[in-house]
Amino acid sequence: MQIEMTDRHYRAFSFARINAITFNTLTELTRLRVFYVLLVFALFLIGSSIFMAQFSFQQEFQILKDISLGAMSIFTSLLAIVATARLLPQDIEDRTVYTILAKPVPRFEYILGKIAGVLLLLAISTLVMGAAFLLILYAREQAAVHATVTHMSGAPREQVADAMRAIRSSAFNVDIFPGIIIIYLKACLLAALTLFVSTFASTNIFTIVVMAFIYFIGHLQATAREYWLHEHSSGVITRIFLAVVALLFPDLQAFNLVDDIVAGTAISMALFAKTAVLGTFYTTIYTLLAAFVFYGKEL
């Protein structure tokens, strides 16, 4: 049965190997039906939009954006933590990791493939949730336009045009898109941090509990830091300590741009770029830390 194999030379780095692990991870998570979380999100969105029909259109759009972007942030964060937490411990428990690493696959490629699979899953989820949110927002805007046109049937054209502009400006604003990108980057950061924690955790329950702890500290740490600096001296040791705390517990509040979007405050390019770089930096650092710990792990 010997078949003729082409000359295959080992390469220290191979996108093909990483791709294989990435798409396998995506298949695993998809077949585990993690996308059910999207269904819950859609139902939540439809339910809340029905409830909001009783408000004025400005209030309705404001609450819809607040609830939808807030829910997107929570759902993607939850998905990032739960989906990532099981990947390594499960592979180790099932000994699948042995068969993979007994092939010519470097450990850092295995880690890169795993995280890339989760990031792809999060990208798909964010796109679907974003699309569902924009669809509902558009539907509510059309409903408001229709109601206003009917209501102002005898009014002068300029007045109707002003009303239309008011509806459209309070429904859509361009800052929704950078807001959604930042929500995605926050989820990426949490996925990378979860992967790092799971490299030294033995069960996914442990990883999820630690991540829940980090999630809450991450949202509170900016307030705590300000209080600390206000109450104590800001010497070198204090600053080093705070830098270490910031690395261990990323400032997740920095990724919260929802309030600005809801209030209609413009998100500056500088703020968006700074937050995006911060998210990418943390995701990269945690992935490298995960690869480093996994490299020395006894399997």
């Binding site: 049965m1 194999m5 295959r8 093909a16 692990i21 695993e28 099932d94 042995y98 007994a102």
Partner: protein, 296 residues
């Protein structure tokens, strides 16, 4: 001079126990040399260090001391694994993948793609007898089928060395026999096999050489026939001999200086009896069912 398939020199592995001063010595000063084309059995009771030795050879665990090589390459290097296929003990794989998808995944990890990968998958599914179950998810596979798909993934990149950790653990006698036949087929094709087992009867049937580990130390090693031979005894197996002929042989022995130790009927093995009985029963049931279908 050709490199040995596996060379282990002065291998020691000590696992520290957290919060305790003492540590566990899993393997102590082990030397092994496995030549290309051999079937080598690493035998020993549970906890004797077999799996740890295999994991070190595969670079999954780092040694405390000593060195391991695969075809002359340091086994800590990832590229040394190009030549190796591995089947762990009780493998689960990804339950959500089908047999075909599993082989495709492992093939891609080894740099295979396109028609070459497709052909390889077909040939391996044929080899391990899982062509009909190729579209079924592994979650529905029996233990024996999982072992066979495990063997197929170990062979996907046409390795020169196959490492098998307890390949028949938990498999029924028929499945166990199929796996044994596959290992013998590897040998015919010149693939070196290193297997660990505590099922001694099976190791005896397939191994050229064995090493026996106890408490992490290699206590015996050598060619199987030399190790198990009893120097001053000879067996004669005679077919269709009349009682008269047997009596004559026995009296001839008694007249000489030799001593007859035992006279008994040749027996088959319990395994062979089991397989014959279950196969016959299965065939009878199938033909019976066929008859009923035709009558309808």
């Amino acid at each position: 001079m050709t490199n040995p398939a596996v060379a282990v020199r002065g291998l020691t592995k000590i696992f520290p126990v957290p919060l305790h001063r003492q540590s566990i010595v899993a393997v102590r000063d082990l030397d092994l040399r496995i030549e290309p084309g051999e079937v080598y059995g690493l035998l020993g009771p549970n906890g004797s260090g077999k799996s740890t030795t295999l994991k070190i050879i595969l670079g999954l665990v780092s040694p405390t001391g000593g060195r391991t090589e695969i075809f002359g390459r340091d086994s800590r290097l990832v590229e040394s694994r190009e030549a190796v296929g591995f089947l762990p003990e009780n493998p689960y794989f990804y339950k959500y993948l089908t047999g075909e998808e599993t082989l495709r995944f492992f093939g891609r990890l080894c740099g295979l793609r396109g028609v070459l990968l497709k052909n390889r998958i077909n040939e391996l599914l044929d080899l391990v007898g899982l062509s009909k179950a190729r579209k079924r998810r592994l979650g529905t596979y029996s233990k024996g089928m999982l072992q066979r798909i495990g063997l197929a993934q170990a062979l996907i990149h046409d390795p020169r060395l196959v490492v098998l950790d307890e390949p028949t653990a938990g498999v029924d006698p028929a499945g166990s026999r199929e796996i044994r036949d596959l290992i013998l087929d590897f040998k015919r094709r010149g693939i070196t096999v290193l297997l660990s087992s505590h099922l001694l009867a099976q190791a005896q049937e397939i191994c050229d050489r064995v090493g026996i580990l106890a408490d992490g130390v290699l206590v015996r090693e050598g060619h199987l026939q030399e190790l198990i031979a009893i120097e001053n005894q000879t067996e004669l197996v005679i077919a269709d001999a009349s009682p008269q002929l047997v009596n004559e042989i026995e009296s001839f022995i008694n007249r000489s200086n030799a001593k007859l130790i035992e006279r008994r009927k040749s027996t088959t093995t319990l395994e062979r009896l089991f397989i014959e009985a279950t196969t016959k029963n299965h065939e009878a049931r199938m033909s019976n069912e066929e008859g009923i279908t035709k009558q309808k």
